[in-house]
C-alpha cells in the first residue's frame, strides 16, 4: 500500500490586507498522512488549524504549496473529502433521512431507489438514529445533529473524513458520547480522519498522531506526537495508562509552556 495517502507539501496561506503586507496565517506545513490514520490537529485559536482543514477540503485555496491525495493534486472541494462542520450544517428543511439522502443521491446518482434507501438507512443505523430519521434537525438535540452530520459525511464514502471541531459546541457528556460513537464507527469502516480540536483528551483518545500547531501568524507544525495506544480504547481505563498520561503531558506542555497564549 502506498504510504503517501494524503500529503501536504510546503503549504502556506496568506490573506491580503489592503495597504499592508499580507497576513501569513499558516506557513511551511509539511505532513504525510497514511491511509486509515486518524490525525488530530490541535492548537490555540488563531493557529490556523481550521484554515489548514479548509485547504485540505478545498473550500479555501492555499497560497503556496501542494496538497496531494493519492498522488493527485487536490483542487477545489469534492465528495472524496467529506467535511463534518462544527455547526453540523444540516439543511433545516430536510429530515434526518432526507439530509443524508440528498448527499448520497448527488454523489452516487447511479443507485436505484432501493439501493439508495438501503444506503441511507445503513448510515442512519450506524449512528443509532433509526428512531429519529423522519425528524427535522430542529427537533433533535445538538449531539444527534452532529451524528447526522457524521452519517452524512460517511454515507458518500469519502477517502478522507475532515472534522472541524466536530464536538466543540457540545457539552462534555454529549461530547464523550459522540467520541465513543466515532471510535466505534471507525473500528467498523476504517477511514482516514483528520480532526481539528482544541481538546487535549479528545486528541489523545481519538488519534494515532497529534499534530501540534504553533501560534499564528506564521503558524506551522510545532511537534507531532505518536499515540501508541491499543484500540479499542476505553476512556476510563486510559486515565491511569502511562502512555495516555505521557501523551497528555506532552500536549499540555506544548500548549501551555512552549506556546502559551495570554489572551485566552
Amino acid at each position: 500500500m502506498n504510504d503517501k495517502f494524503l500529503s501536504l507539501e510546503n503549504i502556506e496561506k496568506r490573506f491580503p490586507i489592503p495597504g499592508k503586507d499580507d497576513y501569513v496565517a499558516v506557513t511551511d506545513v509539511n505532513l504525510e498522512i497514511k491511509k486509515n490514520e486518524i490525525i488530530s490537529i490541535i492548537g490555540h485559536s488563531g493557529c490556523g488549524k481550521s484554515t489548514l482543514l479548509n485547504m485540505i477540503s478545498g473550500l479555501d485555496a492555499q497560497t503556496e504549496g501542494n496538497i496531494l491525495l493519492q498522488n493527485k493534486e487536490v483542487k477545489g472541494p469534492g465528495p472524496d473529502r467529506a467535511v463534518v462542520f462544527q455547526n453540523h450544517s444540516l439543511l433545516p428543511w430536510l429530515s434526518v433521512y432526507e439530509n443524508i439522502e440528498m448527499a448520497v443521491k448527488k454523489v452516487m446518482p447511479e443507485l436505484d431507489s432501493s439501493e439508495l434507501r438501503a444506503r441511507v438507512d445503513k448510515y442512519i443505523s450506524m449512528v443509532n438514529l433509526d428512531h429519529a430519521k423522519d425528524k427535522l434537525p430542529d427537533e433533535i438535540s445538538g449531539g444527534m445533529k452532529q451524528r447526522v452530520g457524521i452519517a452524512r459525511a460517511l454515507s458518500i464514502t469519502p477517502k478522507v473524513l475532515l472534522m472541524d471541531e466536530p464536538f466543540g459546541a457540545l457539552d462534555s457528556l454529549t461530547r464523550a458520547n459522540l467520541q465513543e460513537h466515532l471510535m466505534r464507527i471507525q473500528q467498523k469502516v476504517q477511514n482516514t480522519v483528520i480532526i481539528i480540536t482544541h481538546d487535549i483528551d479528545e486528541a489523545v483518545l481519538l488519534s494515532d498522531r497529534v499534530i501540534m500547531m504553533t501560534n499564528g501568524p506564521h503558524a506551522t507544525i510545532g511537534e507531532i506526537l505518536e499515540v501508541n495506544l491499543e484500540r479499542p480504547r476505553d476512556r476510563v481505563s486510559l486515565q491511569s495508562d502511562p502512555e495516555y498520561i505521557r501523551c497528555r503531558e506532552a500536549i499540555l506542555s506544548f500548549l501551555y509552556e512552549k506556546f502559551a497564549k495570554d489572551d485566552e
Binding site: V83, L91, P92, W93
Partner: protein, 271 residues
C-alpha cells in the same frame, strides 16, 4: 368562557360603540353626512330616511342592470382580477430577477440603483403614462399593480438569497452541486419565507393602490364604484365601500399569511 375571551369580544365591541357615537356626532355637524342607521339601511336594505323601501348594496350584490351598472360583488371581482393579474406578473418577473440579483454581485451593481430610485415612486405616477401606452383601462390597472407589486418581491427575494448561510453553500460545494442544484436545493428553500413576505407586502400595497387607480381610470371596479357614489351623492355607499375594501384586504392578508406559513420550513413540524 374565560376572562381573556370576554375581553377579546367585549373590548372591540366597546370601541365599536364609541366609533358609532363619534360617527353619529359627525353626521349631526356635517350636513348630509350619513348616520350609522342610514348607512345600515343602505347596506342591508330597509326603509331609508326618505321613507322609501330600498334593497341595500350588500343585500343584492350580484345584480347586473347593464354594462355600467353592476352590483358591488362584480365591482370587487373586477378589482381582484386586476390585482391578481398584476401580482402574478410581478411574481413571474420579480422572483427570478431577485434570485439573479441575490446571487450575482454584477447583477446587483447593474440593477440596484434603478430599484432604489423607482421603488419610492408612487405607482399612480406611472398611471397616466401606462394609460397613454395601452389606451385601455384594464391593461393600465394591471400594469400599475405590476409596478406596485414588483419592488417588494424583488427586494425580499434578494434578501432571502443573501440570507443563505455560508455553511449550506459549503455543503453544496463539497457535494459539487451544479448552479441549478444550488438554486433548487438550497437557495429556494431558504428564500421562500422571504419571498412570501415580499408577496404579502406586495399584495397589501396592491390592494391599497387598486382603489386609487380605479378612481382615475374609471369604468368598473371597487375604486371607481366608490368615486361614482361620491358623484351620485350617495355618501353612505362610500362608507360601505371603505368597510368592504378593508374587510377584503384583511382576508387577502390572512390567506397570504396562511400560504406563506405553509411554505415556511421554520414553521413546519411544530404546529
Amino acid at each position: 368562557m374565560n376572562n381573556e375571551l370576554i375581553k377579546k369580544i367585549a373590548l372591540p365591541f366597546l370601541v365599536f360603540l364609541f366609533i358609532l357615537q363619534v360617527w353619529a356626532g359627525i353626521s349631526t355637524v356635517v350636513e348630509d353626512f350619513p348616520t350609522p342607521s342610514d348607512t345600515y339601511v343602505a347596506a342591508f336594505g330597509g326603509i331609508n330616511v326618505d321613507g322609501d323601501e330600498i334593497e341595500g348594496v350588500l343585500a343584492d350584490p350580484f345584480y347586473i342592470n347593464n354594462q355600467d351598472d353592476k352590483g358591488i360583488f362584480w365591482q370587487i371581482m373586477e378589482s381582484l382580477k386586476r390585482v391578481f393579474a398584476g401580482f402574478v406578473l410581478a411574481i413571474l418577473v420579480g422572483v427570478p430577477l431577485g434570485l439573479l440579483i441575490g446571487m450575482s454581485k454584477s447583477a446587483q451593481y447593474a440593477f440596484d440603483p434603478f430599484i432604489q430610485i423607482l421603488k419610492p415612486v408612487s405607482p399612480l405616477a406611472w398611471l397616466p403614462l401606462l394609460l397613454f401606452i395601452f389606451q385601455d383601462i384594464n391593461m393600465t390597472a394591471i400594469s400599475t399593480i405590476f409596478i406596485t407589486s414588483i419592488w417588494p418581491i424583488i427586494i425580499n427575494t434578494t434578501l432571502g438569497v443573501k440570507s443563505v448561510s455560508e455553511d449550506y453553500m459549503n455543503v453544496a460545494k463539497v457535494l459539487r452541486f451544479s448552479p441549478m442544484d444550488k438554486i433548487v436545493q438550497i437557495i429556494l428553500p431558504v428564500s421562500v419565507p422571504y419571498i412570501f413576505t415580499g408577496m404579502r407586502l406586495s399584495l397589501g400595497i396592491a390592494w391599497l393602490v387598486i382603489v386609487a387607480a380605479e378612481m382615475l381610470t374609471g369604468g368598473i371596479g371597487i375604486g371607481f364604484w366608490i368615486w361614482d357614489e361620491y358623484n351620485n351623492l350617495n355618501y353612505h355607499n362610500i362608507i360601505i365601500g371603505i368597510m368592504v375594501v378593508g374587510l377584503i384586504g384583511y382576508l387577502l392578508d390572512l390567506i397570504m399569511g396562511r400560504i406563506a406559513d405553509y411554505f415556511d420550513y421554520t414553521k413546519k413540524g411544530r404546529a
